[in-house]
Amino acid sequence: MSWVTPLFNISWRSIKVWQRDAEVLWATWFLNLLPPLLEPILYVLAFGFGIGSLIHEVHYLGKEFSYLSFMAPGVVSVAIMFWAFFETTYSSFVRMYYQKTFDAILATPLLVEDVIAGEWLWGASKAVMASGIMLVMLSLFGLVNWPEGLWVVAISIVGGLLFSAIGLITTALCPRIEMFNLPIFLVIFPMFLFSGTFFPINVLPTLAEKVAYLLPLTHISFLVRGACLSTWPSFWILNVSYLVVTTLIASWLALVLMKRRLVK
């Protein structure tokens, strides 16, 4: 199988796959809306009144913040990762393997590349929606600086596409759904903890800090924090470049590997 041709097989029709997934979500919109609405409130309670009462301030990029305001953008960053990744792993796997939804769609003028692209866009859309709702909720507690906070939408689009692609790569490589535990435990969970989400990475030992810079979520949390707190890192252009390049590579890999899995 060629490594380039799948790119040219993607068409506008992939939006129909996106539409299908969106309609399923819409049918149970209330249930789907609850987690992003309530999660920030729980975080504010636990970290604002809980851990926040133990930690008085956090030094970040030469400024001082309350722990809660430091941590809130981390919650949004994690949401971008989780919502995209879990959509294109567990949910896509169920559609692909158990529901045979992809097989059914392939009986129509859509090609396998359209299906993959549709799932990819859908995974990213969930990240954008969830992080958007959380942003609004957090801003009710005064934790987001407007209008700079709007940059989070742009960041969530790129970050969503990236983690949606990483999820699809995982789906393409895991023969069984139980195997998702492995990449989640080895990659996603450490990233959740050590990407500058809940503490600045410069408090880590030097080697660990260097490793943290390799993680995509680190770059997302730098940028999201920049937007929410009006405190951008001087190297933000590197964060953006890192995200754009890894998104392009991961998306292309997702396409090729998923096609290899689906076409026999």
Binding site: K16, R20, E23, A27, Q99, T108, P109
Partner: protein, 303 residues
């Protein structure tokens, strides 16, 4: 005239396994052709290549003159595909399944609504329109899959074992609907294990085994040519009986202590046996496509 399907030297290899081995076949416009054969014969792989599901290793398939390799979107726009397994969308109701499917074909939503209602009527599921897929019986699911495959007014209907596992009523309804579609000019390509299904529906059958075509033709002609008119089955026979049959040069097969004697003429074999061995238990019955199939592909179980 351009046929509905033309396969030439069509081959599919999975690693070293040759699933379909250089087969040539044609489905004429408005014709119903059935692929028969045991599990693993290559029937499903063949139609998967026709439907652009699986890449062709060698050779080619053209659907209404369009090459499936270079024009998969145009080919699939003309096809209605009924897969072997249930892949209805459990996230949607019966009606919504049809509407979402219509959208993949770019059918406008007004047209899709009207067409979906007609099709639900056609497969007798009108009162189930708002039902959850999970609450449908196996037969209802099959009928809905048939309806779904018709949403784009296909010119060629491809069915992979359309009635496997269905009760007789559900099977009759599907057959009746397929005949109706054929009368309306839809070409049909199907696979089946049921010889009766093939005899009932197909203008022509293609017998496959080990990825190759064993023989093809009109069911009645195949039966007459390969078997004859009647089959006499004997059990509890002894060596004397067997010798008598051999002496008369009758064509027969023996399997697991049962003899199948093919009668070309009519009921001569049956008459003669009753004369020779009046007390021997026997069964005389008309020859069927199943006899052709078993005589050619062997009566032993294949895995």
């Amino acid at each position: 005239m351009v046929p509905a399907v033309r396969g030439q030297k069509l081959t599919k290899k999975f690693g070293k396994l040759v699933a379909v081995d250089h087969i040539d076949f044609v489905v004429g416009k408005g014709e119903c052709v059935g692929f028969l054969g045991p599990n693993g014969a290559g029937k499903t792989t063949t139609i998967r290549m026709v439907c652009c599901y699986t890449p062709i290793t060698e050779g080619e398939v053209k659907v209404f003159g369009l090459d499936v390799k270079t024009n998969p979107r145009d080919v699939k726009a003309k096809l209605g595909i009924c897969p072997q397994e249930d892949n209805l969308d459990p996230d949607f109701t019966v009606l919504k399944n049809l509407l979402v499917f219509a959208r993949y074909f770019n059918v406008s939503s007004d047209v899709a609504k009207q067409r979906a209602e007609e099709l639900l009527e056609f497969v007798q599921l009108k009162d189930k329109a708002r039902e959850d897929i999970r609450n449908l019986s196996g037969g209802m699911k099959r009928r809905l899959i048939l309806a779904r495959s018709l949403i784009n007014n296909p010119e060629l209907l491809v069915l992979d074992e359309p009635t496997t596992g269905l009760d007789p009523q559900a099977r009759q309804l599907i057959w009746q609907r397929l005949r109706q579609l054929k009368r309306e000019g839809v070409s049909v390509l199907l696979t089946t294990h049921y010889m009766e299904e093939a005899t009932q529906l197909c203008d022509r059958v293609i017998l496959m085994d080990h990825g190759k075509i064993l023989l093809q033709g009109v069911p009645k002609e195949l039966i007459a040519k390969e078997i004859g008119k009647e089959v006499v089955e004997l059990w509890n026979f002894d060596s004397e009986t067997l010798q008598a049959i051999k002496d008369r040069h009758w064509t027969y097969e023996e399997l697991e202590g049962r003899l199948y004697i093919y009668d070309r003429g009519g009921d001569e074999v049956s008459k003669e046996i009753s004369k020779l061995f009046p007390n021997l238990e026997r069964l005389s019955r008309p020859a069927t496509l199943e006899d052709v199939f078993l005589a050619r592909a062997g009566r032993s179980l294949k895995e």
